[in-house]
Structure formats: C-alpha cells, structure tokens
C-alpha cells in the first residue's frame, strides 16, 4: 500500500512541477512583455517596472523564485494588471464562491446520481429505468453552457422564480441555478455508471445466494449489492471533479457569480499573466490532489488491486 502511494506521488509531484514550469515558460515566451501597451512607456519607466516585478533577472532565477514562493509560502506573486493587489488577494476573493456552489453540485450530483442509478437498476425496464437512461443520454449533449441559458429562460424569464445572475453573498435563491447547471450532466453520467454496474452486480451469484436464503430485498441491495456496485463510480469521480472545476468557469461567466472562473476569464482578456498562471496552477494542484486521493481510496477499498 505504501509503495503504491509513493508510486502515485511519483507521478503527481513531477506533474505539478511540470505544470508550474510549463505555465512559466509560456508566459515568458509570450510575444511582447506584460507591460507593452499601445502607448510605449519610456525605457526608464519600463526598466523600473520590470525591476519591481523582478523581470530584469535571468529567467531561471525568476522561475526559481516563483516556484519557491508557491511551494514554501503559497505565494503567487503580484498581479500585473492591478498593481496594488497580489494574486493571492484576487484568488481569495473568488475562491469561496466557487467552492460553495461547486461543493453543492458535486454532493448533489453524487447523491441524486447514485440513487437514480440504483433505483433504475433495481426496477430494471420500468419507467424509472427509461427515465434514467433518457436523462443520461440527454445530459451528454446538454453541457453546462447549454443548461445555463435554458435554466435562465425557464426559471427567470418564464416563471420569474429565480434571479438570473449575481451572487448576493450566497443567498439560497442565487445559488440554485448555478448548482443545477453545473451538476446535471455529471449527475446523469453518475446515474448511468451506477445503473450499469448495479445491474451487473445484481446478476451475480452472491446476490442470488442472498436472495435464495430469504433475505429481504432492501437488505440484499443495501448490504451486499451497493458496495461492489459503487466501485466503478469511484474512478469516475476524478474526471467528474475536473469537469466541474472547468465548468465553473462557464457558470461564473454566465451567472456573474464572481467566482474564480470569472476572475480567470477577466484576466485572460486583460492579459494579466500572473493571475492566469496562479489560477491554472491552483486548480491544477486541486485536480491532481483529488485524483491522487481517489486512486489511493480505490486501492484501499478494493483489495483486489495489487501493485
């Protein structure tokens, strides 16, 4: 087990370093420095600004400083566009918002997805089963940037139940639509995976034995069938998490929730390289860590996995 964890770390850590180096090199490769605007600055001023941000140093020293800053102090340096703020300030402003609706979507997607999948498998070939299969096919072609406008049309424009955007400190009626828009397609995928693995488990011999000895149906499902049926789901949680992190960019932009995705796109338009790098590295780290945890959990729960 320990060997397996070390092996996984052996992939995760180089990946992280590579991500940092890659973003850094990209930023340096960019044609024109971050301070080349339409109005060329006097060379003296430009030199002063570059000295302030450490851009006059040789680039390997800059890279070293940057990496040391991130790893030891979790410091992404100053923002290039807003000179009075650091990247950390900007991230700290948007991150709680994203975290709030992201967590809700993730939890609800897993809960509803699992229940729907299990129910569909238990009532195989019933209307519930067809409903779950139908929604999972539909959700494949309705990604979050399609869901979001549809939700706004229905709930804001026609029914006038929910506000069409904004965050308002996380008041419940502002949170609902981002959560639904972000989570629906993942809920459908989770339901599809759970359904097919549950069907497979329900047809296996040990379930037949459990039924044959007269065990009540709910007991068979909850005690015996559920755990092996949820195993394949665990390996899907990694990609689902990545997808949700990425999808939050769309949600933030469309609903103007002010989360990290909105900051990311704003910086992309402002060419604020340090903020883009900071967010890329932060979210990259999150996804890599999450995948690591899922992999280790998987190996821990399923003793058949041997490395």
């Amino acid at each position: 087990m320990l060997k397996y964890i070390l092996k996984r770390l052996g992939v995760a850590i180089p990946t992280l370093l590579l991500l940092i180096i890659f973003s850094f090199v990209l930023m340096r490769l960019a044609p024109g420095g971050p301070f080349n605007s339409e109005r060329p600055l006097p060379p003296q001023v430009l030199a002063n600004i570059e000295a302030k941000f450490g851009l006059d140093q040789p680039w390997h020293l800059q890279l070293w400083e940057y990496m040391v800053g991130i790893i030891t102090r979790f410091d992404f340096g100053p923002s290039f566009a807003y000179t009075d703020r650091t990247v950390n300030d900007i991230i700290a402003q948007g991150f709680p918002v994203t975290l709030t609706y992201g967590t809700w979507s993730f939890v609800l997607a897993v809960l509803f997805g699992c229940s729907l999948g299990v129910a569909a498998a238990v009532r195989h070939n019933s209307w519930l089963d067809y409903f779950s299969v139908g929604t999972s096919i539909g959700a494949q072609v309705l990604p979050n940037f399609v869901m979001a406008p549809i939700l706004v049309i229905v709930f804001t424009l026609w029914l006038r139940w929910l506000p069409g955007g904004g965050w308002n400190g996380g008041q419940w009626n502002y949170v609902i639509m981002p959560v639904i828009a972000l989570g629906t397609s993942y809920m459908a995928s989770i339901a599809r995976i759970t359904r097919s693995s549950m069907l497979e488990v329900l047809n296996s011999n040990f379930i037949r034995t459990a039924r044959a000895k007269g065990m009540p149906a709910h007991h068979v499902i909850l005690r015996h069938a559920l755990k092996p049926a949820l195993m394949p789901l665990l390996s899907y949680l990694g990609p689902a998490f990545v997808g949700m992190v990425t999808g939050s960019v769309i949600i933030d932009v469309y609903f103007s929730t002010g989360g990290i995705g909105q900051l990311f796109t704003n910086s992309a338009f402002n060419r604020d390289y340090s903020v883009i790098m900071g967010i890329t590295i932060l979210l990259g780290t999150l996804t890599i860590m999450f995948n690591l945890i899922v992999d280790i959990l998987y190996a821990w729960i399923d003793p058949r996995i041997r490395y």
Binding site: V11, V152, T246, I276, T280, G284
Partner: protein, 314 residues
C-alpha cells in the same frame, strides 16, 4: 479474419469439383462488409448518419441559399431587432437576425462550418498522432513503453482546458492557435487505447509470422498492427469529434476562441444566451438546435459503430 476462397486443384481431387462454382459459393465476406451490414441494420445510427450528412450539407452549401451574407448589416432591423429581426421568409432572414442586424442564417452556416472543421481536424490529429504513438509504445514495450506512457499520464492529469486557455491568451486568440491547442491535447486518450490493443495484438501469430518472414519493426507496425487497430480507432474517433466540438464551443462561449467576424456554434450560443433577457429567443435556439442535433448524431453513430466493429461486446 478474412475468409478467402480456397482454390482446389481439380486434378488432385478425386471428386470432380467445378472450380468456378466453388469460388462463387465460398465468396469471401470481409470484416468491414460484415461490420457495415451490422451498422446499417441499426436504425438509430442510420438516422443519425442521415442527419449528420444533412447538417454537413447545410454547413457547406447553405450560403448558396442565404439571402444575406454573413457580414452585411441589415440597417432596417438595427435597434429594433426584437420585432423587425424575427425569423421570417419575407425579409430573407430565415433564422432572424442577430443583435447587430446580421443575418443569423448565414451566421449559423458559417459557424457550423467552423465547428465541424474543428471537430474533424482535432479528431484527425488524434487519429494520426495517437495511433502512431500508442502503436509504437505498445509494440516496443519495456522501458520505451513505460516512459512514453508516463508522459501521457502526466499530460492527462493536467487540467487541459486551463492550459488551452493559457495558450490562447499567450499566443493571441486565433483559430489557428485553437487548432494547435486542441490538436496538442486530443491524441492522449487515443494513444492509451491504441497501446492497450497493440499489447495484445503483438502476441498474435500473424505478427510472429511477419517477424519470421524478416519484416522490420516499422513494417510490422504499419502493415500488420495498425490495419488491425482500425476498428477501435474509427469508433473512438467518432466519439472524439463531438468532444472536440464541445471543447471548441466551451472556449468560444467564453469569448476566448473563435474571434469576430468568424464564428462557431459556441460563439453563437454565447451571443444568443447573452440576449435571452431581451426576448430574442431565436438567437439562442437556432445555433443550439444544430449543436445538439450534431452531438446526438455523433454519439449514436459512435454507439452503432462500436456495436458493429467491437467484437468484445457481441
């Protein structure tokens, strides 16, 4: 496996077999003909194929039917798009106009072209690079394999959407950069799948026979392994096209992808979604319709092809 007619020497055979008749009765059916038969018996995939051909026809010949070009601004509509810009046959704006008074029909035609192109180019790069990379890694095995696949693992665990956006920001937002970025990232999954197949294929007797016959490594890969991989590659490529279209639409929805005056489904959906509040629903629904229909078709065709070509599920 290909069934070939066996030629029987008439003189060697005590029973007089009519040579010509024998060949007719044992007419070979290739694996591909078999698969095509299965595919065309599967109704949803055939319908999807027809729909997809119609969408492609719309994308590449639609401009002949448009009354307005995609760049002209209809000044009579401007400022009153909600009422004057509705879809109608009389004004020549079959799909209405967009917010700037441009004809939505020709815009959707143009956007469909670009979205389909992005999908096919991305999947094409994935097929070429991914197949070659995966086949080489799987065929040689050992240290070469583990190094090559470790690189793929590392690249796969990077959240690629953010890296793609980073690329677009640094090198300027252009369609070329979008192609490059999508191409750089699309082949990773393909190479994994191909490698897995190659691992089992290289142990087969025909590879051994080729080696015994003195074929070089790359001859074996290209003449013997790659043709046998084509089934799974075709299935996976069909499923990759909608993924590429989704990626492009995602980025264009954010305004970071295709730039004006060019457009794509994602950009059109984004514009339509932005003006939903003003009651111009058609600006969202027309591009959305083509987007959803195309993705649906690709998924159904992919499913049908998998059933037809993948022998494991039968």
């Amino acid at each position: 496996m290909v069934l070939r007619p066996v030629r029987v020497e008439a003189s060697a055979d005590p029973i007089d077999v009519d040579d010509a008749n024998y060949e007719v009765s044992a007419k070979g059916r290739s694996l591909w003909a078999d698969a095509a038969g299965r595919f065309f018996r599967h109704a949803p995939s055939v319908v999807s194929l027809v729909v997809l051909i119609l969408v492609a026809l719309f994308a590449f010949t639609g401009h002949f039917f448009a009354a307005w070009s995609n760049e002209e601004i209809d000044w009579s509509v401007l400022g009153n798009v909600r009422i004057a810009g509705v879809p109608s046959l009389e004004s020549g704006h079959y799909f209405g106009t967009d917010d700037l008074g441009r004809d939505l029909f020709s815009r959707v035609v143009q956007g469909s072209q670009i979205s389909l192109m992005v999908g096919f180019v991305g999947a094409g790069i994935a097929v070429v690079v991914g197949t070659f990379y995966g086949a080489v890694a799987g065929y040689f095995g050992g240290r070469i394999d583990s190094t090559m696949m470790r690189i793929v693992d590392i690249l796969l665990s990077i959240p690629y959407m953010f890296v793609l956006i980073l690329l677009l920001v640094v090198f300027g937002r252009s369609i070329t950069m979008l192609y490059v970025g999508i191409g750089l990232l699309s082949w990773l999954d393909m190479s994994r799948i191909v490698r897995g197949q190659t691992l089992s294929l290289k142990e087969k007797e025909f590879v051994e026979a080729a080696r015994a016959g003195g074929a070089g490594h790359f001859t074996i890969i290209f003449r013997h392994i790659v043709p046998n991989l084509m089934g799974i590659v075709v299935v996976y490529a069909t499923l990759l096209v909608p993924q590429m279209i989704l990626t492009e639409s995602f980025i264009s929805f954010l305004g970071l992808g295709v730039q004006e005056p060019l457009t794509s489904w994602g950009a059109l959906i984004s514009q339509g979604a932005g003006t939903v509040m003003y009651g111009t629903l058609w600006q969202l629904l027309f591009p959305l319709f083509f987007f959803v229909v195309t993705l649906f078709s690709f998924y159904f065709i992919g499913d049908g092809l998998r059933d037809a070509l993948d022998p494991r599920d039968r």
